[in-house]
Amino acid sequence: MPTARNADARRIRRAASAKGRTARVKRGRRSPLATVALLAIGLMFTGGAYALFSASPSDNGAVAASQENVERGQKLFAANCATCHGLALEGTEAGPTLLGVGAASVDFQVGTGRMPLMNQSPQAPVKPVQFTEEDTQALADYVASLAPGPAIPSAEYLQADGDATHGAELFRINCAMCHNVAGAGGALTEGKYAPELHEVTPQHIYEAMLTGPQNMPVFNDANITPEDKRDIITSLVYMRENPSPGGFELGSLGPVAEGLFAWVFGIGALVALAVWLTARSN
């Protein structure tokens, strides 16, 4: 009997210790760190998936302007653009005249997806491109055939092989006040904004300077020469391709992003440390 009782006692003790272990495991599962880790993993997956699916389309090659192209452009224009810009490009109440805007303007507006306009808002946003490269070229040829205007820039200025230092100086003087010194973009008045420049192709950057789309001022060749524009593009591409020496840029948005980071992660870590320091060890 004593041995049997001993065995019983052992079994009970073992069961009890097993219970204790499962209780501990359960408590471990409910650790607040697990929630944080789960959130972080979820966010990372979402961000990664978004980055994967939002890859941008490649830029276009030049197609020679031909009579055939102009006629095709005319049809496309009548079908897609004339409602707002008028059948003869004369403009309506809904949209400005396109006489004299040139092929560069069309290539910029259509090639970045800003046109056709989605709705009447303070600013036409960049959105998925609505026309193929050939159609964009046809539209540009058609608009350029009716009145002279800035042409699509030649490839020699788009190679990003100029003087990045000079370009950066010009960028700081002429562009950085709106587009941010690192080209990260910035807010303007009443819902308008200067877009970020990291994803913009050299050709579209050049065309934007040349034509002054929407509220951006025009920087014609007398103001910023083609060589200067090449240098600006060079400096932007340099910034894009070289990591910031200061570490993580946090979007290069300055004190807003950095302050948010410091408050959330810096102070968050300090709070967590303080909690850990004062918590009793188990």
Partner: protein, 358 residues
């Protein structure tokens, strides 16, 4: 001094017998909520099971070893990721690895020590009773005695000549700072005069920032914005000081698009207008020009100026419009200033008000 004894052994607070004997508690109120006292002492896993304590010890020692490795890693990364001139990426790698390894070295020491203290060191609980701030009557009387004695022995109260001259010396001591720091202000006899005048003058050409190339009126197409400096700025002695006053933004509007007040009819040239780029609020460069709305936005405090209405303030903290630079063209077709600004540029200063009298 018996009252000052603060520390004592742990006595769980129990309203029945702890309150009257507690050294520091002056009055114990009968609260609606009863003092729950200290929780019972709970043993840690390391106290119950020496094996667990050993494991904790090993864990902590591993932390310290990690710290050693990280410290050596910092030395290694200093050589493995040198800063290569003209290569920002190398700077980034260098600072990243140096910073990360030094941080790891220090953080593991800190975490290890704290963990040691919390998990292994004796967790004997003690209570420090808060002692009254007011000293005992004897202490206070003794303090007064000491002061009296010091006063008597030093003669501070009696020897008024010494005392007053000492106070005078202390008052005089900071005076040199006033004269030293005074030179941080503009050195000229009349700083206000310097604020009133810029490099612009009759016939000074408007030139491009930064290269100083003169600008033809025909170059300024509709919708353009030129960032302008006065001719000769790059060669001037105090380039930055002059630029900070003379920077100008040049824009071309349709002549039908903007209003001209009487007296300013010849200040623009064929719709080309030039305005000071220095905000009248606190002097930030106002250069965010929207070519469709013709609004200028100051990035610092969001003041907005309407170029259609002679840079009238339409939003924000600025109180005055941006000063307009009267311009025309010279014989060669280059844009030139007609005169200096007709009012001081930039933010207010005390003497600004009597500008009109000069």
């Amino acid at each position: 001094m018996a009252n000052d004894k603060g520390a004592g052994d742990l006595v769980p607070v129990d309203p029945e017998h702890s309150a009257p004997t507690s050294a520091g508690t002056a009055v114990v109120h009968r609260d609606a909520v009863q003092n729950p006292g200290l929780p019972p002492h709970r043993l840690r896993v390391g106290d119950l099971d020496p094996k667990k304590a050993d494991r904790t010890e090993r864990g902590i020692s591993i932390l310290f070893y990690i710290s050693i490795v990280a410290s050596i890693g910092a030395i290694v990364s200093y050589f493995a990721f040198p800063i290569i001139p003209d290569n920002p990426a190398s700077v980034r790698l260098n600072t990243l690895f140096l910073g990360a390894s030094i941080a790891l070295a220090l953080l593991t020491i800190g975490i290890g020590v704290v963990h040691w203290g919390k998990a292994l060191m004796h967790d004997h609980e003690g209570v420090d009773v808060r002692h009254p701030v007011r000293g005992s009557d004897e202490t206070r009387a003794r303090a007064v005695e000491i002061f009296d004695q010091a006063n008597k022995e030093s003669g501070f109260g009696r020897r008024a000549l010494l005392r007053n001259s000492l106070i005078g010396a202390f008052v005089a001591f900071p005076l040199p700072a006033i004269f030293l720091f005074r030179d941080l202000a503009p050195t000229s006899d009349d700083p206000a005069a310097e604020l009133r005048h810029t490099m612009w003058d009759k016939g000074v050409r408007l030139t491009r920032d930064p290269d100083g190339a003169p600008i033809k009126a025909s170059d300024v197409t509709l919708g353009s914005a030129f960032h302008v400096i006065p001719e000769g700025l790059n060669e001037s002695e105090h380039k930055l000081e002059e630029k900070a006053k003379a920077a100008v933004l040049l824009m071309r509007l349709k002549p039908s698009d903007f209003n001209v007040s009487p007296g300013r009819e010849d200040w623009n040239y064929d719709g080309i207008v030039a305005y000071s780029k220095i905000c009248t609020h606190v002097g930030c460069p106002v250069a965010l020009y929207e070519q469709q709305t013709h609004h200028l936005l100051c990035p610092c405090h969001q003041s907005q100026f309407d170029i259609k209405n002679e840079a009238e303030v339409i939003f924000g903290p600025a109180k005055r419009p941006l000063p307009q630079l009267p311009i025309t063209v010279d014989a060669e077709g280059y844009l030139v200033a007609r005169s200096d600004f007709t009012e001081p540029v930039g933010p207010s200063f005390w003497e600004r008000g009597d500008y009109d009298n000069n």
